[in-house]
């Protein structure tokens, strides 16, 4: 399949597809980070994760509409406001859901799957009723449009760069939060041994709620970033949920490093294959490879020893 391209062409193709893969990687990673916190750390299967992401996307869209109509002078920086709002909205909804639904189901992980699937159907219908069935796209501020030429054949889009920078920032923040802060220490303590954590005075219910909220909030930011590279519809979240779960499982469920590694390898494989094969075949081959590896190595790429 490489026959008809010269070596230089191949280099450019890999660079361009690699860059496209990095954008995909950013979105995957943002979605998977939230899910890795919820699924990996708490053991809850949140099938509505995509819908939390879409909530963030809709909040971003609403903010952009608000800024165009009422604060056009501040439009260039609306995106930062939108992201903060998206984080808060998705996080708040997440905490509400934890309190109303997930709290009762910690002992039955397979049932959280069914219940959150039901939740995702409800949210989809709510989005459809509130925002309409058509996809919406946000207007980007001028400074995010266009692309930077790197060489004469390779160029990179500014919004893509922005999404990448954002992903890097959020990933670092999440790592800092989980591995350096006091709250992160509490989360890890609850994961390692719930009863002991409770015995030394950690309010495990509160930690659960905040952890779930944090995961959903990150999904909201992911949705916000998602609006920059694609349009948002009521069912867009469902398209990504299986990929995201595979990423988290492939990386090793309790390992955040594993999530990054697997998001990177999956997105790069897919976008490189996409150039040579049709999009659907690229996806099929990537997913089949992942499933195949998972069948041979069910614990995923990286494992964390956890005492159950």
């Amino acid at each position: 399949m490489f026959g008809e391209y010269s070596l230089g062409d191949l280099g450019s193709i890999f660079a361009m597809q690699g860059f496209a893969g990095l954008i995909l990687f950013s979105v995957y990673l943002l979605m998977a980070l939230g899910l890795a916190i919820i699924f990996g750390q708490m053991g809850v299967i949140n099938m509505a994760h995509g819908e939390f992401m879409i909530l963030g996307a809709y909040v971003t869209w609403l903010t952009s509409v608000f800024f165009t109509e009422h604060l056009p002078s501040l439009f260039p920086i609306y995106f930062f406001v939108a992201m903060a709002l998206a984080f808060c909205a998705s996080g708040a909804l997440g905490m509400l859901v934890e309190w109303a639904l997930i709290k009762r189901l910690y002992k039955r992980p397979l049932d959280t799957l069914l219940a959150t699937w039901g939740l995702s159907l409800i949210l989809q219908q709510v989005y459809r009723s509130v925002f309409g069935p058509r996809e919406v796209g946000v207007t980007l501020p001028d400074w995010m449009m266009g692309s930077l030429p790197v060489t004469d054949v390779v160029e990179v889009q500014i919004n893509g760069l922005f999404v990448m920078g954002l992903t890097l920032l959020i990933t670092v923040a999440v790592f800092f939060m989980i591995f350096r802060s006091r709250f992160g220490q509490q989360i890890r303590a609850v994961v390692l041994n719930r009863q002991m954590a409770g015995a030394v005075g950690i309010d495990t219910e509160k930690v659960d709620r905040l952890t779930f909220g944090l995961g959903c909030g990150i999904a909201g930011v992911a949705g916000s970033a998602f609006t920059m590279i694609g349009s948002t519809g009521p069912t867009a979240g469902q398209l990504y949920i299986v990929d995201t779960f595979l990423i988290v499982v492939f990386g090793g469920a309790a390992s955040l490093f594993g999530t990054i590694a697997s998001a990177f390898s999956i997105s790069q494989t897919q976008s490189t294959l996409e150039f040579f094969l049709s999009g659907s075949m690229a996806k099929v081959i990537t997913l089949l490879t992942v499933v195949g590896i998972l069948m041979l190595r069910p614990q995923g790429l990286f494992t964390l020893k956890v005492r159950r």
Binding site: G43, I45, L101, R104, L105, R108, P109, L110, D111, L113, L114, A115, W117, G118, L119, S120, L121, I122, L123, Q124, Q125, V126, R128, S129, Q238, V242, F245, L246, V249, S278, S280, M281, K283, V284, L287, L288, V290, V291, L294, M295, L296, P298
Partner: protein
């Protein structure tokens, strides 16, 4: 005093008789041809639900990829019917006569190798069951031997269902793409589109379903069924008792796959097409909810659950399309939170005791002092 075979007790026999009467007598008499065909379509999902009762309820394995097996069975039947419909005379306007129309549109000039066996009816019947079972065997032995279970199994089977849909849609020339395989006409010269054919097919379907139910009951009440339940409750203890847990899990997963495949084939026959929309994640999860609504431990509940949810779906989405998704979502949450044993649980906890009370009052015989003792012993044994 037992006249029934040893693997069925009287209650099960009664329940079986009620289901048989409902499917074979009440529905055909009460419903018109269109509605009866619709019920027949719902009943094909009940095959999957019964399979899920065995896998999930008794074996503790939640598969979110049953749509894959339903689809494999359905596509098997559809491929046979399509080949029969695309005889050389019927397709002489194509640039390559004798191959299905969608292949011709996609510039294929000969039949792909995996379509060849579907020229013949008997091999088709075997393949409809064998191909899904082979897949289930492959998936099951790869995963259960490595002690993957629970959540991970669910996610991976779901991914497989998603992959299958993408593959079917992407490979238009071989599979008919997003429209699926349509325009099916005859089964060995017998036109399946006529009302009388649909009527006959409904009965074939109902009888097959009852057969599957009997098969499931046989497995459930055999020693194998006991081991399945033991495995679900305490996998390690069964393993340490010397049983190969993985082999039992593989068996029950294959059984579920075979049931789903039969359902898929009957779906194709009754509805007249097969498409990727019945393979993917959404139908697979919906099939789980049919099973959960009926009660994940009740074989008969699966049938009633399927009929009820589908009836609600059809009537709600006819009159209030927006409400249907809300209703379905609410149903998922309600079943999980409040009725983990579904309809069968409600029946057992509320309806059955009052029926028992009525019968007890009537049949209470003062000259039989052993009656209450026997009853209490039976209750204690349950």
């Amino acid at each position: 005093m037992k006249t029934a075979p040893s693997y069925m007790d009287r209650k099960d026999l009664l329940a079986l008789a009620v289901v048989a009467a409902l499917l074979l007598v009440v529905f055909p008499l009460a419903l018109d041809g269109f509605r009866l065909n619709l019920v027949g379509k719902y009943l094909t999902y009940a095959f999957v639900a019964v399979g899920l009762v065995m896998c999930w309820g008794y074996g503790g394995i939640l598969s979110l990829g049953q749509g894959l097996f339903f689809g494999l069975g359905g596509y098997g039947m559809a491929m046979y019917l399509k080949l029969e419909a695309s005889s050389v005379e019927n397709t002489k306007i194509q640039s390559t006569p004798g191959i299905p129309d969608f292949m011709d549109w996609n510039q294929l000039t000969s039949l792909p190798w995996f379509w060849e066996p579907f020229h013949y009816f008997i091999p088709t019947l075997f393949l409809i069951v064998l191909v899904p079972v082979a897949f289930a065997l492959l998936i099951g032995s790869a995963m259960f031997k490595r002690r993957v279970s629970g959540v991970y199994f669910a996610i991976i089977t779901q991914a497989l269902a998603a992959i299958a849909t993408i593959l079917i849609i992407g490979q238009q020339g071989y599979t008919g793409g997003v429209n699926g395989i349509t325009d099916l006409r005859t089964l060995m010269g017998w036109d399946i589109r006529t009302d009388s054919a649909k009527f006959v097919l409904y009965f074939v379907n109902a009888v097959l379903l009852i057969g599957v139910v009997c098969c499931a009951m046989f497995v459930r009440d055999s020693k194998l069924g006991r081991i399945l339940v033991a495995m679900r409750e305490k996998e390690d203890r069964v393993r340490f008792s010397g049983y190969s847990v993985a082999n039992f899990q593989i068996f029950v997963f294959c059984l579920g796959a075979a049931f789903a495949a039969i359902g898929g084939a009957m779906f194709t026959l009754q509805v007249g097409f097969m498409s990727p929309s019945l393979v993917g994640i959404v139908p697979s999860i919906e099939m789980v909810i049919f099973c959960a609504v009926g009660g994940r431990l009740s074989i008969f509940g699966a049938i009633y659950g399927t009929l009820l949810v589908n009836y609600a779906k059809t009537s709600l989405s006819e009159s209030f399309p927006e409400l249907w998704l809300l209703g379905l979502g609410g149903l998922f949450i309600a079943v999980v939170l409040f009725f983990p044993n579904g309809l069968a649980g409600i029946w057992r906890d509320y309806v059955q005791p009052s029926i028992d009370r009525v019968f007890k009052l009537r049949s209470k015989d003062p000259t039989d002092p052993g009656h209450d003792v026997a009853k209490a012993a039976a209750a204690a044994a349950e």
